[in-house]
Amino acid sequence: MVALAELICCELLKLKRSKVIVISILGVLAVPCMMLIEALQMHFKHPELVFTLADLYDNSLIYVMLLIGMMVYTAIAAYLFSREYTEGTLKTILTIPVQKTSFVATKFCILFLWIVVLTAITWAGMLALATGYHAALGMAEFSLRVALAWLARMLLGGVLAFLTTSPLAYLAERTKGLVVPMIAAAVIVMGSAALSNQNVGALYPWTATFLLTKGRLASTGYPVWLAVSIVVLVSALGFAATFGHFQREDIT
């Protein structure tokens, strides 16, 4: 059977000239742009307020994890899993033969890498625009050390976001398309928007990951272990369903 590393290399090759890469990068770069616009608005409305770099990163988390990020990560997951059906390539790849479990594992590896890279791009975009803002208008506590600390925190958020994308990957595989997972993601985003400021959000896996990354979970009153357990359970169910369904499915 083909080694996982070889499968990952081939999976990366499959993305050559893929427009989804550029679209996903533009999608996540909307976050730094929005944060810059928000910061400029605040500056001209309340010139006495002084921003810190940490404030900027902290305010961006809701977009990175709950709103734009969720939609972009779902689009990527749906693309990775559904393209093999829409392009009719499974009959070519699986007859090589490639093991079905390795095949799905590779898809998840690429999804993970992609989310991590997009998180890093978002972080870098934020840093670049914050540098411009700092040069023009000034920003307190602007240092690379702060930025790097936030990179680590955003990457943790990226890992948690990856875990909660697994049910959407399953939907993409099950429905062999983009529409259902994107609608599901929109519903999840609406739920996240409604619950992100409420304590009960700790029990909603997609908000719990946000609260965990933000360091606000403990203040909701719900035990951290409960929120983490819910995230792990949803994630495990998503992975199990994706692997199980693909293993059982006939390739027609």
Binding site: M1, V2, E6, L7, C9, C10, L13, K14, L15, K16, R17, S18, K19, R83, E87, G88, T89, L90, K91, T92, I93, L94, T95, I96, P97, V98, Q99, D250, I251, T252
Partner: protein, 306 residues
Amino acid sequence: MGNVIETENLIKIYGQTPAVDRVSLHVPKGSIYGLLGRNGAGKTTTMRMLLNLIRPNSGTILLFGDDHRSNSGASYRRVGSIIETPGFYENLTGRENLHLIARLRGLHRGDAVGRALEIVGLEGETDKTFSSYSLGMKQRLGIAAAVMHEPELLILDEPINGLDPIGIHEIRGFLLALSRERGTTILISSHVLSEVEQLADIIGVMHEGRLLEETDLAELYRRNRQYVELETSDARAAAWVLERQCGVSDYTVRDGRVIRFYDRIGDRGAINRSLVESGMLVTKVNVSEDTLEDYFTELIGGGGIG
């Protein structure tokens, strides 16, 4: 000569409908086996089961003598295949697609991709992505991918779909050469009888999920007999005369006026006279031969193969 493919009572049911019903195929080593049947006969489902893309409800599949359930995949490395329209990554060129498949196959011979492209005449199409290929080019690339690793067994589902007449001729010649020179076993499906007839050594006929016949093509030609077709005023009365007065035992009544008989063909003059003397009007006497198409049409109960 052993069988490279052997299935026993293979069944695949979708809902309540059997797509493949107790199919027992036998594809001998080195042969070209033509699986013939109308669209929806179960050819593609059978081939997908052979390639482990679809799990049968019951039955056994032996590939190179290995049971598919305990097969770790080693047998599948010896197989090349095309199932319906070939599937490739649309954002990649033909060469990149083949390169990807070669990597996954562990094919490290540097010229493998180039040689496969040359075989199918796509060596010049270096910049075109698969999405801009014509149907014929896609089919050629599919054939290149199937033969690139020099498999011992080729499973080809309607491989000439979309090819122009010159392309069909080239691919046919290539498949024949593979079989004759390298001893590659080929299982090829088609709904076009004339195509299979020009390639196959053995023909299997599928209809409504069942394998109705599996026979040597040469034997089939031997079996196609001459017959005399009579058009009379009353075929039933003519049948009585043929049987009772002329000693003809092998005949078929085609409709109210036409009757065919397969024995005592040399006595057709005397038979004609007997019919006329019995008061029947004989309007036509033809000596003919069953074509393969007639044979298969009869086998599947009318409608024609393609």
